[in-house]
Structure formats: C-alpha cells, structure tokens
Amino acid sequence: MFQAKRLVLAHFWVAFIAFLGALVLGAWQMYVRSPLSTWVNNPEHYYRSVTAHGTVMAYVLPTLIAMGFGYAITELALKRPLLGVKWAWGGFWLVIAGTAIAAVTMGMGKASVLYTFYPPMIASPFYYLGVVLVVVGSWVWVALMAINLRAWKKENPGASVPLAMFGNVAGAYLWAWTSVGAAVEVLVLILPASLGLTDTINAGLARVLFSWTLHAIVYFWLMPTYIVFYTIVPRAIGGRLYSDTMGRVAFVLFLVFSMPIGIHHLFADPQVGAGFKFVHAAMTAMVSVPTLLTVFTIVASVEIAAKLRGGKGLFGWVKALPWDNPMMLAVTFSFIMLGFGGAGGIINMSYQLNETIHNTQWVTGHFHLIFAGAIVLMYFMLA
C-alpha cells in the first residue's frame, strides 16, 4: 500500500496552488507591458464612449421605450386600433436613422462632446443631425398620441380617460414642450456654428436653452415608469390602485412643474441672475410633490394587496406580499433607489447646498440611482 499518499498530495497541492498564483501574475505582467492595454487608457476613446453612453441612455433608450409603450397603451387602454400606424413606423425609422447617423459620427471620433454638447465645443454636424432626427421621430409620436386621444374622446363623450392614457398623453405633451429648448439650441446656435456659418456662439445662452430640456427630460424618462406604478403594479401583485385621482394629479403636476426648473443645473453659472436661480430652486422643490404623492399612493396600493392576501399589523403586512412575483421585487428595488436618488435630489436643488456638490460625482450618483435604479428597472418590467 502506498503509505505516503497524503504527504505526496500535500506537496503537489501547495505546488499547484502557488503555480496558479504565479500564472495569474505572469499573465498580468504580460498584459501591462504589451500594447494590448494602451487603448483602454486613451482619453479620447474614453470621452467618445461617454458621449455614446449618454446619447443612447438619455435620448435613444427612453424615447423608444416611451414611444413603444405609448402605442401599446393607446391600443390596450383605449381598446381601439392605433390611428396612423404608417406615421408611427415613419417616426420609428426616423429615430433609427438618427441613431445610426449619430452612432457612426461618434464612432469615428467626430463628436466627443458628451450628450450635453455644451458649445463652444463643436462636433461634426452629422451628430446633431442624428439627435435632431431622433427628436423629430418622437414628435410624430406626440402628434399621434394627441390624435388618438381626440378620436377616442369623440367616440366616448363624457367618459373619463383611462389613467394609463392620461399619463401617456401628459408625458407626450411634457416631451413636446421640453424638447423645444435643446431643439432651439441645436438649430439656432450649434448647427450654424458646426456648419461654419457663424464663428462665435453665446455659450451662456446655449447652456440656458439646454437646461430647459435637461431637467424636464428626466420626467419624460420617468413617465412610463410612473404609468407602470399606477396601472400595472397594483394589478400584477393582486391588489388595486389606492387612488386614481392622485395618479392624475401627479401626472398633471409633472406636466406643470417640470418646466421652470432647469436652471437648478446652472446655480454655479455666471450668466443667470439670483432671481431666476431662486425661482427654479423653489419650483424644483415643488416638482418633488408628485413623486411624494406617488410614493404614498403606490405603497398604499401595495398594502391593499398585502391585506387582501391576509397580511396583518402596522408593518407585518410586508411579509404577506407576493415576493416571488418579479413585479413585486422590481417595484421594491425601484422605490428604494428612488428614495436614495430623491433624497440626494433635494440637496441638488437646494439653492445653497448645491454649491457643495455641483459637478462632482455626487451628481452622477444621483441621476444613476434615479435613471438606472428607478426608471430603467421598470422599463424592463413594462416590456
């Protein structure tokens, strides 16, 4: 019998584990010394990728989701076929064409200006053209939503618009008005400069116009998510909506208050006076109202679902929720991240505290919590 088996294996085990560690270190040394890694640290590629990341996340993804969801709501909530399907396809192809043109321009490194494209930095005109086509495609959707709602109202005089369609059309109108700021900036200031027709640009005015779009666009991203909160979540987890009226109030408040708030991005800017900065700070405080109302209504709706399933107690009902239901988990994560993101947002909008976080990674953290955490999570659920 082989007596020394354990002894032999002990030697071999230690030898091979040490070998594995040395192998990894060797591969790492080869990678560091080779030219394989240089492109990763190329700042030009980095900003090119940040531009593409922002353009897709801010413009392409939410616009296509809002448009697609809007068409679905029109047929499912109004229970009639979508009017203008051909126009809708036209809008879709405009968005696709715009995305493709912008993508090629960014890929060639001709547009590393980030999605906020603050002039006097100027990219190739094709980049702006691509973004404009995406927006024009979405305007087709805005018009179709208005036309479809009108046709439904004509057929159902006096009936109350289904909540999903109410929020959907509020979102469409919000976007129609919101997108005007950046559209004016691009068409009046940036494209002439990019085409070489003008040789100066009012950088301050461009930032003010972009701020008109830059904050309200967030509520355009948010609208599909809130429509899911109000119309799909309560049913999906076996409850009912606590208050339909509150949903309508929230959508209308978004439509009203999302506009006069963009200057809270410009608190540290020299081209805006104290008066406008303060008004926009106060209005940004007001735009948190629909979210605070929504949190109450949706948590109450979730509680109804739990009580219907036999949940008891002040907080004990949480245990009775359908935790194996993906929608339950998604709405929970979405609310947690909306909570952190929203609390941070209160600091951002504050007239004074903003000075401590302006242009720091705090802001990046804030909007990623809201966008990725609260919004895109629900995009996956609605799809």
Binding site: L114, Y118, Y242, P270, K277, A285, M286
Partner: protein, 193 residues
C-alpha cells in the same frame, strides 16, 4: 375617487372616507415639507447671505487677452489698496492661468474668472469653492479659506480630450505671511517674485 373603485372593490363609504382622509393628511405633510425646505432656502439666503454666485457680468471674448481686466499681467492674486484680496484667473484648454494660486487664510477672497475657449469650471479641494467659467461671462464669488495648506483645483466641466489633466493648485498661506508677500500691489502666484 369614484373612478378609482373598480368592480373588485364594492363601494364602502366608511373605508372610502378613511382613505380620502389619509390621502389628504399626506398631501398636507408633503406641502409642509416643501414649505419648510423653501423657507430654509429663504432664511439662509437672506440671513447668512448664502446664495449661489449670480452676478451677471459679461466680458468681450475677442479682446480678453489684449485689454481690460484679464490681460496676463493682471492675472493672479492682488491685495487692493482697500485691503481686499482679489484673484483673477482664466481657464483655457487645458490649463488655468495662473497654474498655482496664492490666497490668505481667514480673509475674504474674491475670485473673478472667465474662460477663453470652451466652458470650464473648478472646485477647490474640500472647500465650497465651486463655479462655472463660461466664455463671455465673468464668474465672481467671495469665500474664506479657514485653513492654511495646499489644495487641488481640478477643472470640473468636460472641456475636451485633455479635460482630465486640467488642474491648478491653491496655496493657502497664513494671513501674516500672505500680507508680507502681497505688499506693493503686485500680482501674486506661487512663482517666487
């Protein structure tokens, strides 16, 4: 609220009254939170004069380097005859002029800055100094540095490929040391004169 009651929930007037009252209570709480936030902004704005820098002032970008306040010889830190400290600086792709700024501790320091090409901005170390620099506009704000020492001052607005390498340094000197260096009204930077 009537539209809210689908067929699954039979109308129950007692519970509906409770739910309406709860909803209204929450709406009042929300309004109270918002009112407190806005009042806090008003109070600190008026009482502490704590507000964002908002002096709207323009400068001709085409003659920025040639004449006026932002010619190179006038950049840096100046101790005025009235005892006020002013730092004038320009941001350009991809540096600040001057690259190293000298300021006193425990004295009000007024920054006046602008940009010559793209939009820039800066934040100074762990202080609350934070402003945008926009071509054609002069950013002005006043602050006090409570501690002596050196702080980093990065550009914090994307201004092109070299943005990440755009840094300046701020040397905060003890008040007496600063005052002894600043005599004669010369423009100070970290470069020994």
């Amino acid at each position: 609220m009537s539209a809210a009651s689908p067929s699954s929930a039979p109308p129950d007037h007692a519970s509906e009254a409770v739910s309406v009252a709860a909803e209204r209570r929450w709406a009042y709480i929300v309004m109270a939170i918002i009112a407190v936030l806005i009042l806090m902004m008003v109070f600190t704005g008026l009482h502490w004069a704590s507000m964002p820098p908002s002096r709207v002032e323009t400068v001709d970008i085409k003659t920025l380097h040639i004449k006026g306040e932002f010619v190179e010889s006038n950049l840096g830190t100046a101790l005025g005859s009235d005892g006020k400290v002013t730092v004038r600086l320009i941001a350009q792709q991809y540096s600040f002029v001057p690259q190293c700024i000298v300021v006193p501790a425990d004295m009000p320091v007024t920054f006046r800055g602008t940009a010559s090409d793209a939009i820039h901005g800066f934040i100074i170390g762990r202080t609350n100094v934070n402003t945008m620099l926009i071509p054609g506009f002069v950013a002005t704000f006043t602050t006090i540095f409570p501690r002596a020492g050196e702080q980093l001052m990065p550009c914090h607005e994307y201004c092109g490929t070299g943005h990440e390498a755009m840094w300046a340094r701020v040397q905060v000197l003890p008040t007496a040391e600063f005052l002894s260096k600043a005599r004669g009204g010369e423009r100070l930077s970290c470069v020994p004169s």
